[in-house]
Symmetry: C2
Subunit: 286 residues, 2 copies
């Protein structure tokens, strides 16, 4: 309900809605920013943006991959997976790592980073197509469709027979409760999002008291607090992508007029991978 | 319910019930343990104990304080407060620290350690007498009686006007929910116990989703995992006690036959301070 109020205030007629976007400099009065250069940062939901604080922009190195990667795997979603999994989850080879929303913008990377650390990686998603994608394309060890499982605890028991050591939580709610019941001693839970709790009254966590006897740590985080890690993250993730250790999927919708539908569809889980909206041509492909 | 089953199994007729206790060596076949020496460790609820693994015993230095301190402030309850507050809570001068069960075996020390770190320290307890004790004797900045407050959130708002940065949780349940609502950004919660959840069906945490936007960390711990810190802890705590920086209150019941009543009374919160049962005389006082 708080969220709804905030959105209403954000969507004012005539007001630019900021969004993390890739752009090419068309005109510049700012030192160090030349016409034709590619940048990313907070621009608007629009085809041309006026940026009064260019210091907030980051320059794009197009040799690192598709320029859209700068707002997906090489940008905030990538850093979110990196910090939440490696710094907070601290996966150790041989452990079992579970990721919810595992085909999403952040989840797909979180799981692959854990696989690279030598873990058994299990994901959940909301369609059979996503489940196949997670196993076949993202190379998780297992995945399940949380919408069709009779019991989340049963599904976790089947796919994580040795329990869960690290949980990368994108959804909160019932899934978090089910993971708490399957969590191993010294388990770590990185809480990245709680999409199940964004609307309505929270049902409340029932298995929270498992925390003490399992000596578990649950940490919520917001990626803006970890921007100091960006410069270390970027070349590493770019190298993993280049080597094929990590793959990344984007779900790109074209056209400014399709933004509302693209956004609502993302909240409904229609996207397979990071949802982006393309409002202009990619100059590196011309 | 699990707890009840475990207790039932533990209390078998004719079986020694182990308990952490102080004793004096009466006879010894073990090298390094001389008759007359004082030790502490797992003995029995009895006047004379046979210890087959003397390596589990620790020798007592009676110059550090009352010998009972070795099973209170200089023993496991002390180490629990030390690790849970300093290592997990990481209080910083100027922050607000809240401790539930604040007059208890662990809580009284947890709060005093935070006060020594320069924090505003607030406690809760279950009687007005305890509340007075917490403020007057333990020198917390404020305390309240959770049984007579109409709203825990209101009480926290009043006593922690700048929010809560660190919560040392001994009780779980509604109090934890109320603290989550008042928790500051980057707040830390050390979950030491959840006595409110030990019986019946857990009601569930409602405010758990605060964790993400508050970037908070909640860590459950069991002190046995931190025994490697004991040797660093002991001289420090002894020095703080000797200097009067920290005070400690024990609630001693005398007589082997009063053990059941003493134990049940402790679960009911009748004790003011660490409840101990004295089953013999203190040789250092003779």
């Amino acid at each position: 309900m708080k969220g709804a109020t905030a959105y209403a205030a954000a969507f004012e007629l005539g007001k630019v809605i900021p969004v993390r976007a890739v752009g090419q400099i068309e005109r510049s009065n700012a030192q160090g920013f030349e016409v034709g250069e590619l940048v990313w940062g907070f621009l608007g939901w629009e085809q041309y943006s006026l940026v009064s604080d260019p210091i907030s922009l980051r320059k794009i190195d197009p040799t690192l991959g598709s320029i859209s990667y700068n707002i997906s795997c090489l940008g905030m979603p990538g850093l979110t997976a990196y910090v939440g999994m490696l710094d907070l989850g601290r996966p150790v080879a041989g452990e079992t790592v579970f990721v919810s929303a595992a085909s999403g913008a952040v989840g797909q990377l979180a799981g692959q980073l854990a696989r690279m650390a030598g873990c058994r990686v299990v994901g959940s998603a909301g369609s059979d197509e996503k489940v196949r994608h997670i196993v076949e394309k993202l190379r998780f060890d297992a995945a399940f469709n949380y919408k069709t499982e009779e019991s989340l605890e049963r599904a976790l028991e089947m796919h994580c027979p040795a329990g869960v050591d690290v949980y990368f939580d994108n959804v909160g709610g019932d899934m978090l409760d089910a993971v708490l019941a399957r969590l191993n001693t010294f388990g770590r839970i990185s809480v990245c999002g709680q999409i199940s709790e964004y609307e309505g009254t929270p049902k409340g966590l029932k298995n929270f008291s498992a925390l003490v006897h399992k000596r578990a740590a649950i940490t919520g985080f917001i990626i803006y607090d970890h921007m100091d890690k960006f410069d270390a993250f970027l070349p590493k993730m770019a190298a993993w992508l280049a080597a094929g250790d990590v793959v990344y999927y984007e779900d790109i919708v074209e056209g400014l007029d399709r933004i509302p539908a693209a956004f609502i569809g993302m909240l409904r889980g229609e996207n397979l991978g990071k949802r982006l909206v393309k409002v202009g041509s990619d100059p590196t492909l011309q």
